[in-house]
Amino acid sequence: MHELAITKSMLDLVLEQAEKAEAKEVGKINLVIGEMCGVVEECVQFYFDFLSKGTSAEGAALSFKMVPTKARCRGCDRLFELKEFDWTCPYCQGNNMEIVAGKELFVESIEVE
């Protein structure tokens, strides 16, 4: 459900940037989203289509770069991807870890005309 608020903020940010660049139309929006944020692409797309109507971003394509959750084990110092979210290190079975990726939520770039 947080997709609505996230999409709103994303659109505001995109329109602000497009205006700054004096762009007439936004063709594409490149998003980077960490897996840990639990953002559902279809939901963002749905809200975006609705909210962007009548703006310069109407009809823009959304590209989602999903970032897998990665952690560094504090026991053995190795890096690994947290696939099952079971929070154990696959190398030493420790479960003390620092999350190093997966919390991203930003607009990387926009393509405008």
């Binding site: 608020a5 996230i6 903020s9 959750t69």
Partner: protein, 216 residues
């Protein structure tokens, strides 16, 4: 033409949260963002905390609720100022809502502000309000698998309160393993097993809270 943006989608929320934080700081008010799933015991904890801190610090409460004002009514009976935010269906509070609520909180008269967020483990994790500490309640009936399912909120919490420990004899919940998992993903977190019903463990929570406020 491609324009590099590289900006946080929730940057605007962060900005307003920063302004809220400044307002709180300039009034010497310490704010706690209290989060949990529905029914884990946020309102109960606020009531018990108020009772235990009477005469020690002056408290105000912001009640975030999807639509009703039931929680706010219960708390105002304790004689503390309460401001209600109805999110009108929204599943979390954001910095903007907090900002308008803060306008109605008598900041000059309080030292501690407890904000009851909307019952939800997903959305509140993303939206800062301007709080000094994030406190998460996870209760025994919810089961001990919640950190696996909602890692972000456990990762963000400064303290996790394991509520309803009076129910431990009746339900399957491995407190030791649960705490270990949370500590693993969030090394700095403080964990307090407690019961708002029996009062067990509340002393530890309240003294931690006072210590955070510099009143230890």
């Amino acid at each position: 033409m491609e324009i590099k943006v590289l900006k946080d989608i929730l940057g605007a929320n962060e900005q307003i949260a920063g302004i809220n934080r400044q307002l709180l700081d300039s009034n010497n008010v310490f704010a706690v963002n209290l989060m949990s799933s529905p029914g884990a015991g946020k309102t109960s904890l606020i009531l018990e905390t108020i009772k235990r801190l009477k005469g020690k610090t002056r408290i105000g409460v912001i009640e975030g609720d999807v639509s009703s004002s039931l929680d706010a009514e219960v708390i105002s009976k304790e004689g503390v100022p309460v401001v209600q935010i109805n999110t009108g269906g929204g599943c979390h509070l954001d910095a903007n809502m907090a900002s308008s609520a803060l306008g109605n909180v008598p900041l000059k008269d309080i030292e501690l502000l407890i904000i009851e967020n909307v019952g939800n483990l997903i959305c509140p994790a993303e939206f800062a309000l301007g709080e000094h500490k994030n406190v998460l309640i996870s209760s025994i009936p919810e089961g001990d698998d919640k950190p696996f399912k909602y890692p972000l909120i456990f990762h963000k919490a400064d303290a996790v309160l394991i509520n309803k420990i009076d129910l431990l004899p009746y339900l399957k919940f491995d407190t030791e393993a649960f705490s270990q998992v949370i500590k693993g993903m969030n090394e700095e977190v403080e964990i307090f097993p407690l019961s708002c019903t029996t009062g067990e463990g509340l002393v530890q929570w309240v003294s931690w809270l006072m210590a955070q406020m510099g009143k230890g």
